[in-house]
Symmetry: C2
Subunit: 297 residues, 2 copies
């Protein structure tokens, strides 16, 4: 298991003004919150971090700010996805030079991609020297990784892990076994889609790629630690307690919920990049009420 | 019916080098071929024109080259889609300033978009003064336009038409009636997905947004003219003759087929932007054989 992709990897939003210029002060405040909670890693510029909507220059600046603020106290994993292969290669080099420990590479698509195209894309990016985690998120990339392709990619030098969505509780163990079969350790297999992750960790997942952990790391870390300690009952109890947060994510999507939550906490005074709109006032009030009810403010 | 969105609108590829710099000479040669055939419009920087993979500067340069080469002999419709609203607004202004007659706006997404978000996105872009055609292409944008949203958008000043995919022959008349009901004339309704379009035109569609027409305009224009003249039998006969081309599009996708075809014709010496790969040699040979068999070289 790679040390880079383990434990709680928290995905913060990337506060930016309407023109896409990053608010360094707000970003530092959010990162400080994560470091203080002792997350294992920070997933900067993930989907919730709106990487797809930011310029190359602003993405580089975000990595520089994060590397400075985090200062080695957590692993720094950075989204390096782009539509063009040459741009993804350049973003990986930028991230490496700016202090990232690894890159998270989604096969972003416009023209739907074929398996051989995704393979060549990953091969080109991974050749740059920054360890790469496969970012499997069909809801945004519209590409579905089949196990055979993950197996091929896992044998590329520099491709060190997979971030994939969990599954229904009764399917997750079989799913995890499928991934593990095509990609043996030390290749890391970890889970996203927060509401599915606890069972993924229990099945053997090594990392939780967490949207909610990007603002509320403490209860997420508690679940990770409970699973590590073999206390499955406690992990499941804590996960059940967080169900109101998972409901928000399923109902209103991660990026919209996390901006509303960050506003409620007073950490940002900004909205997601247009065309994404902030939650309506009733939906934002629902987010605030859940945060208060769970004592997370 | 707007004069902008009618007849055969041909969508050329945008030849560019591996770094994304447009080959002006090759682009002019392709455009000349279309103007000589007397297409009604040119759909520059459509999906087949790989707009999503080109920088703002190169997109502007392509419009300048096209406006100069076409010189008013066909309407110039330009793809102005972008993930960010402010970028789409800027691209529309660039296209207008560089000589475009209209903009083709796809709701490009990463985070899946809500109807109100797409509405606000179109409202912002259409306010810039360039007439806008709604570009409905769920296969690339992953957004599905419902008739109610098209109706709302059609009432925005500056939103002048819809480019949508055709349907199975027995469904196309009902589908066309649905669109027409929410968006009365003079709003233009036209069809893409070449192999479905002839029936769409017969049902009342006013424009054919054609991938194959981007290199082979003559047989496509013949179908448009036959439908206009009321000769449905001749239109269907010509369409049936082109079935081998439609099979190629369905089997290998438009952008990959059109690059192989343009190479076979000796018009370009380039491949699509990576990560999209050129067709394999056997598939490219299949494209060349169809072109020869139909006497289109």
């Amino acid at each position: 298991m790679t040390d880079l992709l383990r434990g709680l990897i928290a995905f913060p939003i990337t506060p930016a003004d309407p023109a896409g210029r990053i608010d360094e002060r707000a970003l530092r405040a959010i990162l400080q919150r994560l470091v203080t909670a002792e997350v294992d890693g920070i997933g900067l510029l993930g989907s919730t971090g709106t990487y797809a909507y930011l310029s190359r220059a602003e993405r580089r600046r975000a990595v520089e700010v994060a590397a400075d603020e985090v200062a080695g106290r957590a692993k720094l994993l950075v989204g390096i996805g782009a539509l063009r292969t040459d741009e993804a290669v350049a973003l990986a080099a930028d991230a490496r030079d700016a202090g990232a420990d690894g890159g998270l590479l989604a096969p972003v698509s416009y023209t739907p991609l074929l398996d051989d195209e995704v393979f060549a894309h990953f091969e080109a990016v991974a050749a740059g020297g920054l360890p790469v985690c496969i970012y499997d998120n069909p809801g945004t990339t519209h590409f579905t990784f089949r196990p055979e392709l993950v197996g091929r990619l896992s044998r590329l030098p520099g491709v060190v892990g997979l971030k994939t969505a969990g599954a229904a509780p009764d399917e997750v163990a079989a799913r995890h076994a499928t991934w593990r079969e095509v990609a043996p350790a030390p290749f890391s297999i970890g889970y996203a889609a927060d509401w599915t992750v606890t069972e993924g960790l229990i099945a053997g997942g090594e990392a939780w790629y967490s949207v909610m952990g990007g603002l509320f790391p403490v209860p997420c870390i508690a679940i990770v630690r409970a699973v590590s300690a073999g206390d499955v009952t406690e992990a499941r109890r804590s996960n059940a307690e967080m169900e109101p947060l998972w409901t928000l994510l399923r109902r209103h999507t991660g990026v919209r919920v996390m901006y509303a939550a960050a506003r409620h906490l007073g950490l940002v005074d900004m909205d997601p990049p247009r065309p994404i709109l902030p939650l309506t006032p009733p939906a934002a009030a629902e987010v605030a009420a859940v945060i208060e009810r769970l004592g997370l403010s």
